[in-house]
Amino acid sequence: MSAKNIMIVGVGGQGSLLASKLLGRLLVDEGFDVKVSEVHGMSQRGGSVVTYVRFGDKVYSPIIDEGEADFIVSFEKIEAARYIKDLRKDGTIIVNTQQIDPMPVIIGSEEYPKDILSEVESKGVKVDAIDALTLATQAGSAKACNIVLMGKLAKYLDIPYDKWESAIEKCVKPAFIDINKKAFALGYEN
């Protein structure tokens, strides 16, 4: 199988590291060759962050380049659009509808695009939008947005539901397993 490419994008501090940890764990358990790449350091301070997850029979490059991503999982609305160039022509975007203003918008030097997801859809891209913040809060923690989005992604990947659950058990602290399983289920169902 040629490598499948998933990008996880968002705002530094939103919890993309746990999402990629979960995904990595799951894919290794499924017997794939896996590479996960992310940048630590300065960009984690509220900047735009991106994580690359690649899996298949053999994976060389740790990064995903223009036109290569099968999926972009975005923790924030405009971050999905920022990385659109990396998406394959027939790729899918899974996006949390949450809006987080970047500093240029806060100080009024730039505007937050109004209807960006419709524009993305008008280009023929499949957009699967979800209010992950509300669902995560419903599951018991606003911080579980990341796992809600993983639940959404799970519908597109041919990996049994119980394998995801056991990967969650391995990746999160015991006290948070139930909340995260619930968040995952809500993402999967909505």
């Binding site: 380049d65 659009a81 659109i84 990396d86 022509k89 918008v105 009024g108 993305v120």
Partner: protein, 579 residues
């Protein structure tokens, strides 16, 4: 067991399995996790040193004392450790010693993109360059073998995409190594007479290492299926991009030992391959070597000196068809990194910007004070340069600059190399005002302890430098402490200290809000009836405050209730719970 490990964790594991017993490092992205991961092993010694020179010398001392040792740093940290490096090349080692250095092509988190391989060549020290996590683990073991066999410190060079990429790694078992310390002045006292005698040893060692390079499994040829009429010489992450593009269709010489480089292997490869491309990030180290030994290669005329490569870089350079992409008409606003909501640095920068003070900056989270809307910084160069730079600035400007210029430096950076600049201010008496932004942690690299925090790398109680006493003891008579959440106090103290005709230090003290022991308060809310929409709070640049429908609003997922915005608002529109 096979598991997914980032390169830095795999390297730490490799050092551990090789019997490394002492690591001393200074944190720096993308190298920090090597040391953090090593600290998790219980039967070894691991520490954060005040800077990379101290770390390298500590590791050297441990090697001399008979234990396999290592020090880890980012590329610019190696500049600081360069002094001991060049002479350790002469002394060699007792037990094996490894220097892990991580480059940052593309400058994800750095102030330059210097190529550390130059240091290996210049100091005549061997350098290994892994291309993924498994190689990082394996190369650590080989590095210690080379170190002891050839009597030399050995570099392991990482880069961001190897250090911070996870790939499948298989662990092994630890072996213990212990050497006896034997007094040997001719080898370890590098006074001129002894050093003169050691230099030929270094040259002879390089000759022997070149022979080793010809036969070492660190360098390998992968013959292609013959689709293309050229071959590629490459290393590190560039190897992965080459394989991503060409698979097994092209012949590749993958180099794992970057210094010294082999001669025969390269000549043989070039003879069989015909046309040869050298693909390496940053500077033409391999390319220059090839040309020096008379092998004609295509390198930097085709592949950039700048930034990171990727599979696209390689495909484009060979004229391969680009992948189809989607593009949008709408411009997406940039999202640069910024200081967190509640960050104690913000208050100090707000006051400095408001008073139009010239601010020489340093390396850390507070470099973000340069970003809009605060735009509070005038200079950032390297660790510690704010303090010494301020001294020079004021010697040049004298009374023109002294009362309207300060420098800002974090607690960890001050320990690293700011204190020497302060000694110079006290000794050579410039009328300078130094602000130490003490947030009680090394912030930007992800919360490492340092000599001012009172805890060691394992989180256990440790010696603690008292900043006030330190500043006084080097000769600063005026040392004051302020709370950066108290804007009025900060402004008053800054004005008073700038007006004084003597050197002074202001310690701006409040712990980083991301520290676990700092408990966030309830988020504030904006009372829309009181908010007049004057936007004064927007000049504070807090990511939790934005402007919607003519009023400020607070994002309650970001706000930590610091309340500084409330002290700025003339209409008392910011309300905390219970008011």
């Amino acid at each position: 067991m096979k598991e997914l490990m980032i390169g830095n964790a795999a390297l730490a594991r490799g050092l551990y399995e090789a019997g490394c017993s002492v690591i001393s490092s200074y944190p720096g992205t993308p190298s920090t996790e090597i040391t953090e991961e090593f600290a998790k092993f219980s039967d070894v010694y691991c520490e954060w040193a005040p800077n990379e020179k101290v770390a390298a010398e500590t590791a050297f001392g441990a090697s001399l004392g008979g234990k396999r040792s290592a020090c880890c740093m980012k590329h610019v940290g190696l500049n600081v450790a360069a002094d001991p490096l060049f002479t350790m090349s002469y002394t060699g080692v007792n037990a094996g010693m490894v220097i892990c250095v991580a480059d940052d092509p593309g400058m994800h988190s750095s102030q330059n993109e210097q190529d550390s391989r130059h240091y290996a060549v210049a100091a005549k020290v061997p350098m290994l360059e892994p291309a993924d996590s498994q190689e990082a683990l394996n190369f650590a073991k080989i590095a210690f073998e080379i170190s002891e066999e050839f009597d030399t410190p050995v570099f392991i060079k990482m880069c961001t995409r190897v250090a911070h990429s996870q790939s499948i790694t298989e662990k092994g078992e630890r072996t213990e190594v212990q050497k006896e310390y034997v007094k040997n002045p001719k080898k370890y006292i590098m006074a001129p007479a002894n050093a003169i005698a050691r230099h030929p040893f270094v040259e002879e060692r390089t000759r022997k290492l070149t022979e080793y390079a010809e036969a070492s499994p660190l360098n390998r040829v992968e013959y292609g299926s013959g689709t293309y009429d050229f071959g590629i010489i490459t290393s590190s992450t560039s190897y992965q991009y080459v394989k991503e593009v060409f698979g097994d269709s092209v012949s590749v010489l993958k180099l794992g030992l970057i210094n010294p480089l082999p001669v025969k292997i390269i000549k043989d490869f070039a003879e069989k391959a015909g046309k040869v491309y050298v693909i390496e990030e940053l500077d033409p180290i391999i390319e220059t070597h090839c040309k020096t030994i008379g092998v004609d290669v295509i390198g930097k005329e085709r592949f950039s000196l700048l930034g990171e490569f990727s599979q696209k870089t390689i495909a484009e350079a060979f004229g391969l068809e680009a992948k189809e992409t989607v593009s949008l008409d709408t411009k997406i606003p940039v999202r640069p990194p910024m200081m967190c909501a509640g960050c104690p640095h913000r208050g100090m920068f707000y006051v400095l910007a408001k008073n139009k003070i010239t601010v020489l900056g340093d390396i850390g989270c507070y470099t973000l004070g340069s970003m809009p809307p605060l735009n509070a910084l005038d200079m950032t160069l390297c660790m510690g340069a704010s303090v010494s730079g301020l001294h020079g600035f004021n010697k040049a400007g004298e009374s023109e600059t002294e009362n309207k210029t300060v420098c800002v430096i974090g607690d960890s950076t001050f320990m690293h190399s700011g204190v020497t600049g302060l000694i110079n201010i006290a000794y050579n008496q410039s009328n300078s005002t130094v602000i130490v932004l003490d947030n009680s942690i090394t912030g930007m690299t992800g919360h490492q302890q340092n000599p001012t925090t009172g805890y060691n790398i394992k989180g256990d109680p440790a010696g603690k430098v008292n900043l006030e006493s330190l500043c006084r003891s080097v000769g600063i008579n005026s040392v004051r402490v302020v709370d950066p959440y108290n804007l009025d106090e900060c402004e008053k103290v800054i004005k008073e200290e700038l007006a004084k005709n003597e050197p002074s230090v202001i310690i701006s003290r409040r712990p980083c809000v991301l520290l676990k022991y700092v408990k966030p308060k309830k988020p504030l809310t904006v009372n829309p009836d009181k908010c007049r929409g004057c936007k004064k709070c927007m000049k504070f640049g807090c990511p939790a405050i934005s402007f919607r429908d003519k009023h400020a609003v607070i994002d309650n997922t970001l706000c930590i209730g610091c309340g500084v915005c409330a002290s700025l608002c003339a209409f008392n529109a910011f309300e905390s719970e219970g008011e």
